[in-house]
């Protein structure tokens, strides 16, 4: 029986962490993720969980300590946002290359500058090539559900990679909404105990982690890491299938909302997908064939699956909540169009930048984008291929 509750996205993730009860959580506070370690440490103080909480002096240290704990044989995690993730940069790559299945709950906030505390995806996108699995959530429910699925994905023998579970700062992290929670026992059974085969604190079975690698080995090691990331795709789907049996809530690499017969599809990630779905419903009532493809798993990037999902539409709007500063669009825009080209899906693809540093994205913004796509396809209107939404 699902427990009907209402809570913020941060509360939901902290609740999931309590249920999973990992072994070690080193953390350093940064807005808007601060509440997560704060709530977890309250749970610990109240005796509701027995995770070893390590207050550290920086995010460089929190990620280092999480890697150390994981290598030692513990299930570890940390939480951060924005500049905190940037300070972890070196360690993020080490967590992945040393094949540590630890978790990070990222509450997406823009990277400076200008300095700003609000949501965009520049922090997560900045870490997109660090070798982590990245999963994005639309709302508090998905943030909760994704965290519960995190360790079963990361710890699978085919994967052994770190996983970043992301949600939009303030928009979902601080918004109280309805949620359905699972019973503690169900979550514990689903996630299980962490029983690594090889770890540092294992008497009689010594190992060395993170050795120097000469060129003769390093390239092969990177290829193996890439294979593990590719493997994670099937594991993510298997875990989602099991989770569906448990919760009734299904997940894929992405969600296709009313795209079956859609001429125009909007592809985006995070909380704005809900707003876009609302726009789709309103436009469908007027007979417009529109849909939303909400990307859930950004790493590994499901290029082939996206190309397959888009091949029958006339145009796609790719919405990036991040500026890439490459002069050619955002990260999603670049990767989706590259995927379309590789799999020979030659449709109109317009890249929009929206919601930077907390700029709002409304139902009417989404409607406007769909109308522009239609105008381009039906009336031959020339549309700027890379543009900003709500730019003054």
């Amino acid at each position: 029986m699902a427990i009907k509750e209402r809570m913020s996205g941060n509360e939901a993730v902290a609740y999931a962490i309590r249920q999973v009860n990992p072994d070690v959580m080193p953390a350093f506070p940064i807005t808007p993720s601060t509440e997560i370690p704060q709530m977890v440490s309250t749970y610990i103080a109240n005796g509701e969980m027995d995770t070893e909480f390590i207050p550290v002096e920086s995010e460089h240290s929190s990620m280092s300590a999480a890697i150390g704990a994981e290598a030692a044989g513990a299930r570890s995690l940390t939480a951060t946002s924005s500049a905190g993730l940037a300070l972890m940069w070196e360690e993020l790559l080490l967590a992945a290359s040393n094949r540590m299945p630890l978790a990070l709950t990222l509450v997406n906030r823009t990277l400076s500058g200008p300095i700003n505390i609000n949501c965009d995806h520049s922090d997560g996108m900045g870490a997109r090539d660090t070798g982590w699995i990245q999963i994005y959530a639309e709302n508090n429910q998905e943030a909760y559900d994704n965290f519960i699925q995190a360790y079963p994905i990361a710890e699978d023998a085919r994967v052994h990679l770190p996983i970043m579970v992301c949600q939009d700062g303030f928009i979902t992290s601080h918004a109280v909404e309805n949620i359905e929670l699972l019973e503690d026992e169900l979550v514990k059974d689903f996630v299980g105990e962490y029983e690594p085969e090889e770890y540092l604190l294992n008497p009689g079975k010594p190992i060395a982690v993170g050795p120097y690698s000469i060129s003769n080995y390093a390239m092969e090691a990177k290829k193996n890491q890439e294979i593990a990331l590719e493997n994670s795709k099937e594991v993510i789907l298997e875990v989602a299938e099991k989770f569906k049996k448990l919760s009734g809530r299904g997940f894929g690499l992405f969600e296709e909302y009313r795209t079956e017969d859609a001429d125009y599809i909007m592809l985006l990630m995070g909380s704005a997908a809900g707003t876009a779905k609302q726009a789709v419903d309103e436009m469908r009532e007027q007979g417009k064939k529109v849909g939303v493809l909400k990307l859930r798993v950004f790493r590994p990037f499901p290029a082939k699956e996206i190309a397959e999902a888009l091949k029958n539409c006339k145009a796609v709007a790719i919405l990036d909540r991040c500026e890439s500063y490459n002069g050619n669009g955002g990260p999603l825009g670049s990767e989706v169009t590259a995927g379309l080209f590789r799999y020979k899906v030659m449709i109109e693809a317009v890249n929009y930048i929206y919601g930077l540093a907390g700029r709002d994205f409304t139902v009417s913004d989404a409607v406007h984008v769909f109308e522009e796509l239609a105008d381009a396809v039906e009336n031959g209107k020339e549309v700027e291929q890379f543009q900003y939404i709500r730019l003054r």
Binding site: R6, E177, N178, K277
Partner: protein, 201 residues
């Protein structure tokens, strides 16, 4: 949103407008509704104007934007009337509720020609008399519930008592004061609503 209501709160940092919005989401949730309560964040400074929002609906709520065409606006601090366009986008069929000792006729000039209903509540006075301190958010929460008619008075009072008993488990002496503040504010507004209904009947 097709079904349901949208509320916008205006307050100053530290006055509890955000808490009131979250409490409203809380009590509406207990009536089986889908809810959303969220603040608009910036640098957190005591006294700076802040905005918070509520969506309450029988349908699942998916929109994650701010609210531009609210059904109701609650102004927790009347000094904001001079600096913030509190009636921006407010539906004519809706209402604005303002914390002020003034009558509605006295504040009309500051509402940019708003044509909908206007209610005033002296939340400061109610708070000081019932709690001994100026915590305007509890009375304003009651006023918002009365005007928006989210739930019946007795259900609201019942849920709020349960909520306070949980929240103030370690200082039960403040529960009665808070309950009185809620009831008084609710009744003041309910009286004004009845007056309005009689006039328009």
């Amino acid at each position: 949103m097709k079904n349901g209501i949208e509320i916008r709160w205006h307050g100053r940092g530290g006055q509890g407008a955000k808490t009131a919005a979250l409490l409203l989401a809380d009590v509406a949730f207990k009536t089986g509704q889908n809810v959303q309560g969220f603040p608009e964040y910036g640098p957190e400074r005591m006294g700076a104007p802040i905005t918070a929002y509520n969506r309450i609906s029988s349908d699942k709520i998916r929109v994650h934007s701010n609210i531009y065409h609210p059904d109701y606006v609650v102004v927790v601090d009347e000094t904001l009337l001079a600096s913030v366009d509190v009636t921006a986008g407010l539906k004519k069929t809706g209402a604005i509720i303002i914390n002020t000792p003034k009558s509605k006729e006295e504040v009309m000039d500051e509402l940019g020609g708003y044509e909908g209903r206007v209610y005033t509540v002296d939340a400061r006075k109610i708070s000081v008399e019932t709690l001994g301190k100026n915590f305007p958010n509890s009375p304003m929460l009651a006023a918002a519930v009365a005007v928006s008619d989210i739930m019946p008075r007795d259900k609201f009072i019942h849920e709020m008592r349960a909520s306070y008993e949980h929240k103030f488990a370690k200082k039960p002496e403040v529960i009665d004061g808070n309950m009185k503040a809620l009831e008084r504010a609710y009744d003041v507004v309910e009286e004004a609503i009845e007056e309005y209904n009689q006039m328009s009947a």
